[in-house]
């Protein structure tokens, strides 16, 4: 019996029960869910994020920022999009046209396809496949070849140097990122993202106490460290400041996208912001409880809430946590200076990798010693005389 893991499509099917849409097959709803998430969440986020980033930058530097297009300049991103779309489509004459065209495709696919396994709400995940974490790791690897090939095809020294730095940086930081996901896998015993989020609820009445252990970041002292390593590694993987060496404008003009202009540059920038969102959403999902509310379970509330409202609240909490992390990413941009290449590699291989290896052993020992219970559960059972432990 094949498992139905296209939960978003299934939800759409259920909501349209009894209407004329009831006969639409599941694959069509899957297409609709993909359209909704990419065209109504991912790409608009990529656009609005440029505006938000400029506003935040302006606030931090005591400027006003974009304020001409619409109230508070809120339509600035639309104006930018129109400008980029109507610019000349330029391919460098000495470059490689085929690779130049294929590189943005790899970057956009690599960043957008990650959304499949991100649970926006309990039932609003496009595909809750059982290799979820591995799937996200797999599709995001497409970005590095895309950047490398695009920089090569530009026939520009700055581009090539930026692309090489970017590829080396992305692959290096993939190791601490993957190693920092391992503690979560040890705690949850699953690669399935929906299952991981479900376990991060709070339910002391659960017969197996370890099944609902609050957010993973508070599971034990080591996961707190792993959470920060995952976030820092994610910053580096998305080429954000302080790890923006691939596009360091003071040394490499604009790095790997120097020769990309108009909408081609727009697609790169869009891919980068979407990738930032995916990274922050992944941190939220793995460590900050995804759509889970602290200490509340809406399903078992004293009034029965309508399912649509619950779904909305879940999506709201998920987006809130994720956007908070996105804000931190933008905040860091105006706080920290850029690293040097040797510092970058040193931080990764001599700092983050050993610490995350230590975290794995630490988490395993904690799991073994406390039968999979989290810090809060252990403290709780101490105060209640051990009666809560099974």
């Amino acid at each position: 019996m094949p498992a139905n893991s296209a939960l978003f499509a299934q939800t759409l099917t259920q909501w349209t029960q009894g209407t004329w849409l009831a006969t639409v097959p599941l694959w069509a709803w899957a297409l609709v869910s993909a359209l909704i998430i990419i065209y109504m969440l991912a790409l608009p986020f990529g656009g609005i994020a440029t505006y938000i980033e400029r506003k935040i930058a302006a606030d931090m530097q005591d400027r006003i920022g974009p304020n001409r297009v619409g109230p508070f300049g809120i339509f600035q991103f639309a104006a930018d999009a129109i400008k980029m779309i109507s610019k000349e489509d330029y391919v460098p004459p000495g470059g490689d046209r085929f690779l130049f065209n294929i590189a943005p495709v790899l970057v956009v696919v690599g960043s957008c396809a990650g959304f499949v396994a991100l649970p926006l709400g309990q039932y609003l995940v496009a595909g809750d496949i059982n290799i979820g974490i591995l799937y996200i790791m797999a599709v995001t690897t497409l970005i590095a070849p895309g950047i490398l090939l695009g920089s090569w095809a530009s026939e520009n020294k700055w581009s090539l140097l930026g692309g090489l730095r970017s590829a080396a940086q992305i692959v290096s930081y993939e190791i601490p990122v993957a190693l920092s996901m391992l503690p979560v896998i040890l705690i949850s015993g699953s690669l399935q993202v929906g299952e991981i989020v479900k376990q991060q609820g709070w339910n002391p009445a659960d017969p197996i106490h370890a099944n609902a252990h609050f957010w993973n970041v508070f599971h034990n002292p080591f996961t707190v460290i792993a959470f920060f390593i995952l976030f820092v590694g994610g910053l580096a993987e998305t080429n954000r400041i302080p790890f923006d060496l691939p596009e360091a404008e003071s040394e490499l003009v604009s790095g790997f996208n120097t020769e990309f202009s108009g909408m081609r540059f727009g697609l790169y920038a869009l891919g980068e912001f979407v990738d930032v969102f995916v990274m922050c959403a992944l941190v939220t999902t793995l460590y900050l409880g995804g759509w889970q509310l602290p200490f509340l379970e809406l399903d078992k509330f004293w009034i029965t809430l309508p399912s649509g409202l619950i779904a909305l609240i879940h999506v709201g909490f998920f987006m809130g946590k994720t956007l908070l992390l996105v804000f931190v990413v933008m905040w860091l941009r105006w706080t920290l200076p850029r690293l040097r290449v040797d510092q970058l590699m040193g931080l990764c291989w001599k700092g983050l990798v050993p610490i995350s290896l230590f975290n794995i052993v630490g988490t395993a020992v904690w799991m073994w010693a406390f039968k999979g219970q989290s810090m809060i559960q252990v403290l709780g059972s101490l105060f209640s005389g051990g009666s809560a432990s099974h």
Binding site: A6, L35, A126, I129, L191, G262, M345, G346, W349, M367
Partner: protein, 134 residues
Amino acid sequence: METGYISAFWFVVIAAVTVPLMLGVGALLRPKGITTKKGTQAYECGEDPVGSAWVKFNIRFYVVAIIFIIFDVEIAAVLPAATLFREAVLGGQGAFVFAELFLFVALLVLGLIYCWVRGDLEWVKGVTKYAPKK
């Protein structure tokens, strides 16, 4: 096969179609007849580019990629065992899985120590060594 992969398929298709779609919309919207003059060069700060853009680069990038691929493969290999750990611990027999995980970490640490001690993680080592003596 799970139905979730159908969603994944559509995501990949739509993301891949988005790129030519946006470039195509641009081709329809943008003013015609204004094109950059032929013979434009790579943008290198306004200077004429010297030599080929496809320069030789530092071999360190390559060594890092080699170290990366071995670590990556080891992580992929340990994932299935890691998913069993919770079940084994709750069932009271975590020792074997723990030993396996510990061996995995120990091997990675050994490899890391080797690269560290032999200086493969020092980014600027090659440059300083080849620098002319004063």
